[in-house]
Amino acid sequence: MLNSASSNLIYIASIILFLVGFYAVAARPNLIKKIIGINIMETSVFLFLIGIGTKKNGAVPIIVEGVKNYINPLPQAVVLMALVVGVGTTALSLILAVRLSESEKEERQ
């Protein structure tokens, strides 16, 4: 069990980052801080996926003459798409937060 823990350090790091992000979403009062927490959770999941895709002594998945041992490109493609979708969802949630605070200000006046 200890041996598997030392070789799977990146998985454990991504779990800790996920929990930190979850704490921000659950316990911090500011809405923008909650959205930052969602972003930290997102990047931790990406770290986990890239960790799954790695291979010992594997080359970057760009074909070069004479190299045979490449990393699996599929997790990287999935993560690349998710990164760009993340911008759209983050911007949309920020816009919702801004609209909410402005309507609260209007109600107070």
Binding site: R28, P29, N39
Partner: protein
């Protein structure tokens, strides 16, 4: 598992806790930008330079600017 990877993991965990516990939103956004940079170096170490490029631009460039704009339109401190 190299020494650099272990150091980067430590850096990531410390930075993420600092981001979450900071009371000033602007400071925590700057820390979040640094977190994105460290994460990009980490991904480059794991053999994904394309994702590192995207991460540097998107996470610590564009999203941080969006956060700063949103913070100036809402509230700057994180207290109840």
């Amino acid at each position: 598992m190299t020494i650099l990877t272990t150091l980067l993991i430590l850096c990531l965990i410390i930075l993420s806790i600092a981001v979450v516990l900071n009371r000033d939103m602007l400071a925590s956004i700057v820390l979040f930008s640094a977190y994105g940079l460290v994460m990009a170096v980490m991904w480059q170490q794991l053999g994904a330079p394309m994702l590192a490029l995207a991460e540097v631009i998107i996470e610590s460039g564009i999203i941080s600017v969006l956060f700063v704009v949103a913070v100036f339109r809402t509230s700057r401190d994180d207290v109840e």
